[in-house]
């Protein structure tokens, strides 16, 4: 039997649910920044910069900034690119490990990022594994005749009698 659940996400707001006004907003923002992968000792620094430089006082503001910034990184890397959703931006930021680079990363002009960092952010979740380049790998027949290498060689291989 299948049924639909109630949405528990809002009721599961965690510690912040009992906090008031500014405290709740701050806790939400901390949770958001930590969720990007920033180490605990760098969260305050990022929040200060978000508020000072971007006027981001809430999670929505910070998320919008993240989305805009990752979109601009994509544009810088790929040329034209559609707007990146917040979830896509967060995934790209998390998967690239960008939080490990510095607290300034999120506020850096995309063009001044190292090319490798831009590429990592632009790859997003598609970089978990690369595009497949398959090689067939058949199970060998242990009872059957020996398979001699067909590949050319640049020198004698003593064990192969035909060489």
């Amino acid at each position: 039997m299948i049924r639909h659940t109630t949405d528990a996400r809002v009721s599961g707001a965690g510690d912040a649910s009992s906090a008031t006004g500014f405290e709740a907003s701050r806790l939400h923002l901390e949770d958001f920044v930590r969720g990007l992968g920033y180490p605990a000792d760098r969260v305050d620094e990022v929040i200060v910069r978000l508020r000072r430089e971007r006027g981001a006082m809430s999670v929505e503001d910070a998320a919008a900034h993240l989305s805009d910034w990752v979109t601009s990184v994509h544009r810088s890397h790929h040329g034209f690119h559609r707007d990146v959703t917040i979830e896509e931006a967060r995934t790209a930021f998390v998967i690239s490990g960008a939080a490990m680079w510095s607290a300034d990363t999120l506020f850096t002009e995309p063009d001044s990022l190292p090319a490798a960092h831009r590429a990592a952010l632009a790859a997003g979740s598609s970089s978990v594994v690369p595009v497949e380049r398959p090689l067939p790998m058949p199970a060998q027949d242990l009872a059957g005749p020996r398979r001699r290498r067909a590949e050319p060689t640049i020198r004698r291989v003593s064990w192969v009698p035909t060489r």
Partner: protein, 678 residues
């Protein structure tokens, strides 16, 4: 410094240089020595005529003696190679540092892992990656973490550690993370899956174990050698054991440094391109490996059937069968591994290896194998079969002593001949150790680094005493393992404990009960047959003291203590950069993931990366029971059992539905809640 502890600047000779006499020395020397030793034993036993027990004793002695003679002559050849400081013959090598760095091939560093401690493993990978960052061609090298982890909490910890690692190595190289949803073929299957999916993208791949470390210079040098020698399929860099902190691990790593170096050099000298592969710290020609080294599943049931457990020897044999050479090059420094911390951990690993190596007996008749490949397969199995052979030899001796004791006035054994044979056997056993010590003493830098000639000699003595005391214990352990394997007891390819810790008293008594029982039985024999007491005394003492020996060897010594200053290896005195860095990273506080599901549902980073990893899995998730949803809603995390946690973590729909957001960020991405089964 001596032998393989030298630099990676290796001299190479012309590739078609003659192989020399090393192979003839080892094979002929072993045959002659075995014949001489067995004749001596016959001479010792023959005065009273040979009864059935003595005949069995003589045959078993011949097998044991051949084994130690083979190791002796291998060590002699290795010693000759180490002191000659000659160039490596038979392989083309780079000419000068610039040529070494001139690699053009793409290389994948693959790290198969299953339920390991992610913090320690990723510390190793990062240290290797940073080393690669200092090389000239980091862009040619990618990491693949090939996870077969099934523990849901470790899965999440791996994913988080992976994103951090990617961040740290973003400017150096790519780090990919692939998780399989099944464990088909175990480690060999894991590597085969890599080849099947991405093999064409990399000319070579290097296999790293969870505790492997390699310097970038070594990786680059190995790649260059493979580029210059198209006929080489596998090149093994014998790993140096490092980072031991317990007495057991330190003694093992000293033995590996002092004696292992000599034996490895010997094996390399006489096996040359017909050598073997140890499963990690080796570079492999990807296309040849995929084409010729796919492992079949062995038909039937029982210990000699099923998936091939110890895949490395078999893959090396198949590579050789296809006409590619397999080289082991002890001159390659910068290749490291860690050892099990205690005798019990060692025995656990040994049991898994024994099951795999025994399976090789069935593969001896594989069509078209090179004779040395058959020898490698046989020797791998024989290294475990020697323990029961030795035990049977002792038991045959006890029985013949009992029989002789019933014949009054009967001289059963020629005492002079017996003493000569015993002395010769001891000399063969300890000669490789003596040669190893001589190699160290000849090298002024190494000798001084280890505290001077006296400290080196004393270290060698301590190692000999402890290893002699442990030998009967490991003999019984291996014998009981073999009995268990052959009787069909399940062999699990469990997780290796790498972090040390003293075993409990209960564990000691449980594991060592067979030793104590056998020790008491031999003690009774010695009391009944006084003439046998001299020959059995050392073994009785060792077996009865087995629990104490294990407990003692699991302990640690302060660096300033006597034992702390002995049995040192160069890597302890001057740790290589990659080792220091890995230790530093592993020593940092580990992020704690005690409940993977809770972490994924409450932590934005864990949620994002976990869903991204799930996208790469091809399998359809199983339905998540309704009770899990209820427990998540109630926040009763501790009530969700691990199996349910794993089911929930495998379901993207469930994870999207029950993600606990402080506020809704992107309404478009959260539509109708996912269906839940109950």
């Amino acid at each position: 410094m001596s032998g393989r502890h030298a630099t990676t600047a290796i001299a190479f000779q012309h590739p078609d240089a003659p192989s020399g006499a090393a192979r003839a020395i080892v094979l002929t020397g072993t045959a002659i020595t075995t014949l001489a030793g067995t004749s001596g034993a016959w001479w010792a036993l023959v005065p009273g005529g040979l009864n059935a027990a003595e005949f069995a004793q003589l045959m078993l002695f011949g097998v044991c003696f051949a084994w130690i003679a083979f190791a002796f002559w291998t060590a002699v050849v290795g010693y000759r190679r180490l002191v000659a400081h000659g160039p490596v013959s038979g392989l083309r090598g780079p000419v000068g540092a610039a040529d070494t760095q001139a690699i053009t091939s793409r290389v994948a560093l693959v790290v198969p892992m299953r339920n390991e401690d992610p913090h320690a493993v990723f510390a190793n990978i990062r240290a290797i990656g940073e080393s690669i960052g200092r090389s000239r061609h980091p862009e040619l090298i990618d990491f693949f973490i090939l996870s077969d982890t099934v523990d849901p909490d470790i899965q999440v910890a791996e994913e988080i550690a992976w994103t951090e690692l990617r961040g740290h190595l973003a400017s150096v190289c790519q780090v990919f993370y692939r998780r399989r949803t099944d464990n088909t073929g175990k480690k060999a299957g894991n590597l085969a899956e890599f080849c099947r999916r991405w093999g064409a993208g990399y000319e070579y791949f290097i296999v790293l174990d969870a505790d492997s470390l390699m310097e970038a210079d070594t990786i680059i040098m190995m790649t260059r050698i493979m580029e210059l020698n198209r006929g080489v399929g596998i090149l093994q860099a014998p790993p140096t054991s490092i980072d031991g902190s317990t007495r057991f691990a330190r003694l093992q790593q000293f033995a590996g440094f002092a004696y292992g170096t000599v034996v490895t050099a010997g094996m390399s000298a006489w096996q040359r391109g017909d050598s073997n592969y140890w499963g990690h710290n080796a570079i492999i020609r990807t296309a040849a490996f995929a084409r010729y080294c796919g492992l079949p599943v062995l038909s039937g049931t029982g210990p000699f059937s099923g998936e091939i457990l110890s895949h490395d020897f078999v893959e090396a044999a198949l590579m050789r069968r296809a006409g590619y050479e397999v080289w082991m090059l002890p001159e390659l420094a910068g290749s490291y591994e860690r050892l099990p911390p205690t005798l019990l951990d060692y025995a656990q690993r040994d049991r898994r290896w024994a099951a795999g190596n025994l399976q090789h007996l069935r593969l001896l008749t594989t069509a078209g194998l090179h004779p040395l490949s058959r020898l490698h397969l046989f020797m791998g199995a024989a290294s475990y079969l020697m323990s029961p052979v030795w035990l049977l030899f002792i038991l045959a001796g006890v029985v013949s002593a009992l029989i002789d004791s019933t014949s009054a006035g009967h001289r059963a054994v020629d005492p002079l001949a017996a003493i000569i044979v015993f002395a010769a056997s001891s000399a063969l056993v300890f000669a490789p150790r003596a040669l190893g010590i001589i190699v160290i003493l000849r090298d002024r830098d190494t000798r001084r680094a280890l505290g001077g000639g006296g400290a080196v000699l004393l270290s060698g003595l301590v190692e000999i005493v402890v290893s002699a005391a442990m030998a009967p214990v490991t003999m019984v352990m291996q014998t009981t393992s073999l009995v268990g394997i052959l009787s069909g007891a399940t062999v699990t390819w469990g997780v290796q404990r790498r972090d040390g810790g003293r075993p409990s008293r209960i564990a000691l008594l449980r594991v060592h009960a067979p030793h104590v029982v056998l020790g008491l039985a031999l003690l009774a024999t010695a009391l009944l047959v006084p003439g046998s007491a001299f020959w059995l005394a050392a073994m009785i003492a060792s077996l009865l003291a087995a629990p104490l020996l294990t407990a003692w060897s699991s302990g640690t010594d302060a660096p300033s203590s006597l034992l702390g200053r002995l049995v040192r290896v160069p890597e302890e005195v001057a740790p290589p950069r990659v080792v220091t860095r890995a230790d530093e990273l592993a020593g940092a506080q580990a992020p704690l993931v005690v409940d993977g599901l809770r972490r994924v549902l409450t932590d934005g980073r864990a949620h994002s990366v976990h869903l991204a990893v799930l996208e790469t899995a091809a399998t359809r998730p199983a339905p998540v029971p309704e009770r899990v949803a209820r427990l998540v809603r109630e926040g009763a995390w501790a009530s969700i059992d691990p199996r349910d946690r794993a089911l929930a973590l495998a379901s993207p729909d469930f994870l999207a539905t029950y993600r606990r957001l402080p506020v809704r960020l992107d309404r478009a991405s959260h539509g109708t809640p996912a269906p839940v089964h109950h």
